[in-house]
Amino acid sequence: MKRFFLQSLLLFPLCLAVWFWLGDWQVKVAAQIALHVLPYLHPFADYDILVEGKSINFLMLIPPHAPDPGSVRGKSYPLLQLSGIPLYMALMLATPNVMKHLKAFVIGIMIVALSGFMGVVIEGSRHLLGGLVMLNVDLKKLAGLPSYALFFAKYLELLSMLVLPLLLPVAVWVCQRRDFVLNMIASKPS
């Protein structure tokens, strides 16, 4: 167990560096997914998505006839939702026989990444809902959204930003390398 955790600790900064180096590419994918999914969630909102380095701006456009015309800007850092990837990579690489589980490794990264991308969509959705509230739009009239939608969106945002990037990599790793985990727990202290 000691050896495994030491290896994880040493591998984590390396995985983090590689993951961050590929950050721009991940942000672009996240922006594209948000661009394709958000119209289904907010068919009535008029908005644009702008990529700025490692951040995404959700730009809610407010029509000229509104009391405060202009735009509402919501900034998002998609790498926050995707930060579970280096943790998962470090855990998998520190586990023995990683080459035998290469397929599981790739699938695991895809699961963690997909969850992160969905987290970005949720955050974008929350920004747009916030914009709609500023426009004094009755949320009940918009695609049947209840008035507590903003609280729910905030809740999902918190979940996708702070809990899933921590919990999902560990959960996927435990599921994929269950035998190793059980052996580690059952073995006598080293």
């Binding site: 167990m1 790498l79 470090a90 918190l158 702070l162």
Partner: protein
Amino acid sequence: MIHRLILFVVILTLGIGLETWDLDHTQYQAPWNAALAFLAEQSMLFFKGAVTRAGNQLIDPVTNKSVLVLGGCNGFEATFILITAILVYPSCMKAKAIGISVGVLAVQILNVVRIICLYFLNIWDEEMFRFAHLYFWQSLIMLDVMGVLFIWLRWQRGACRWA
């Protein structure tokens, strides 16, 4: 097994709901954040570090740069994951109580180290501070939670046998 997993998800979901409710950090999180800031301040003063504190804000008296201990920085999520995992695992009450006490302490000690590290990084380089704050320390604290949990899982079998 499945019912424990469901219980874990339900308790965790409720806990995060509680945090969403307190997003402005005025209720139960405020004293926790202030206590963490106090511990970080006292630790730095013990090692002759220069720092002043105003509530949950740590301020460098030379540069006037400061860090705020808020929700997301207080280790609430990691602590809650650990407590929930220990609570739902089939073990005796004594082992659970010891696991939660020692585990929360271990997570929060590392969290104080994290706050101190971020305080100095903020003075030194804001870009490095942002990187460490958003990406590095979150996962490191989760590794700490995992370590504590696995050590507890191994220890609790013997502890419950003696009880």
